[in-house]
Symmetry: C2
Subunit: 286 residues, 2 copies
Amino acid sequence: MPFLLDSFRSISTMGLFRIVLLFSLCSLISRAFSHETVNAHNNHILPRPLILKYPDNLIETQLNQLNEEVKLQCTTWRFAVEANNLNPWKTIPRECLEYVRDYMMGRGYGLDLERVSNEAGVYAKSVELRGDGKDAWIFDIDETLLSNLPYYQEHGYGLEIFNPVEFDKWVEKAMSPAIEASLKLYEEVLGLGFKIFLLTGRSEKQRSITVDNLINAGVRYWDKLILRSSDDHGKLAIIYKSEKRNEMVQEGYRILGNSGDQWSDLLGSPMPSRSFKLPNPMYYIP
Amino acid sequence: MPFLLDSFRSISTMGLFRIVLLFSLCSLISRAFSHETVNAHNNHILPRPLILKYPDNLIETQLNQLNEEVKLQCTTWRFAVEANNLNPWKTIPRECLEYVRDYMMGRGYGLDLERVSNEAGVYAKSVELRGDGKDAWIFDIDETLLSNLPYYQEHGYGLEIFNPVEFDKWVEKAMSPAIEASLKLYEEVLGLGFKIFLLTGRSEKQRSITVDNLINAGVRYWDKLILRSSDDHGKLAIIYKSEKRNEMVQEGYRILGNSGDQWSDLLGSPMPSRSFKLPNPMYYIP
């Protein structure tokens, strides 16, 4: 007992305060992550843990530990996104706002885009084309050929619930820049003689503005640009895109490659020979 | 010109040496990564850059920059693995040995396993079972229910070319421990009333040793354990596993969930309602 008391006495009040604070934060973070699954990623019990006002005297190593923990958990979350393991989600975890921002604005996102473009290019070159005008490659548009990152920068990198009215205003500006790595792949695939299909969840009403934006961004040629007609509204993307691929196959096309940032661009039936998943930790489309 | 000479004079010989060394290492790393794609990930021009003997006087910040660069590139590589973007590969990039080891032996791998198990569990509970004995869930075995990490620890975490003779000796020991997160999912799924199919690339000759290992590891019940028969040898895993799933569907089973660490466990036809990709940066099976 005296030993215990001594031990307690040897910890200063401030030291104890730090330890309690560290444990509370760790437990809050771990609870936030475990609740996330159950609540389908929409309700987060924390206000904004990464921008909590820490007392100035919380020592640097403790802060670093917390940052490392959040980074580790958010990396796990991002892997689950990219491997299609997550159940449907509407916003990124609040705890991962800084992580997602750093990834999108730092080198990580660009490196991942380059990697997928390079791998797709190697594959495209390895494919033997029949040259009968029926060898096809599909590209999705948003977050595949064109980037809406300027919009998402203004809307919390996926932390805000998607607002279709606001987003359509952005689309109407036709200012989405090209994703350079995808543009490179697009040019390679075009040069190899593939037929190019652009298959997007955008509405047929946005055709002319989409054409303008594509051309401004350097995408100047395609065989078919497919947008949602009035019949397609309300369909899940995975259904709508599968139906459109099915039409291509019915018309005799062989879909040899497919590039998209959503698994709903890539899964469903018929499956192309190879699919390439571009990174996108900001939103999920079923 | 005098200005340039002055500038050069102001850099000490040792400083210049450091700068040259830093640039050479950066360029080597970046060349190693860019060659990797072309050479299908098998030929690496570097011996072992992470365990090069740096001169003692290379200052810490420069080393940190190099480490950060390697970490970033290896994270990109790992994402490409998990999102199925890579072309076929036989060994991990030499540059990523430490990265893969740290991931497998640190908390990253465990957290990723827990995440995929939790998400699969949430999905399994959400499925409405018909209860006619035809609701099925498939589990792969190696790196899904059982872990061969003790073997790969001894074989460079995937840096060594796969040696089937050595690996079979390990399998014969029946000492693969359970992957705890998967065991938890297995028990949940079993408890919910799914039929359990274990579908593995192991040979029929390894049936009894596999049964022993499963039971020792806590996997004590299944409806069917499917191994490669002599007819299946030489088939790509994606073909063999698709054929076996097709047989299940022919027998009237509805495959509602599928857990595996390889995309060849999950892709092909017929596709289960949902698939869960467990992490595995150590090897690739086509």
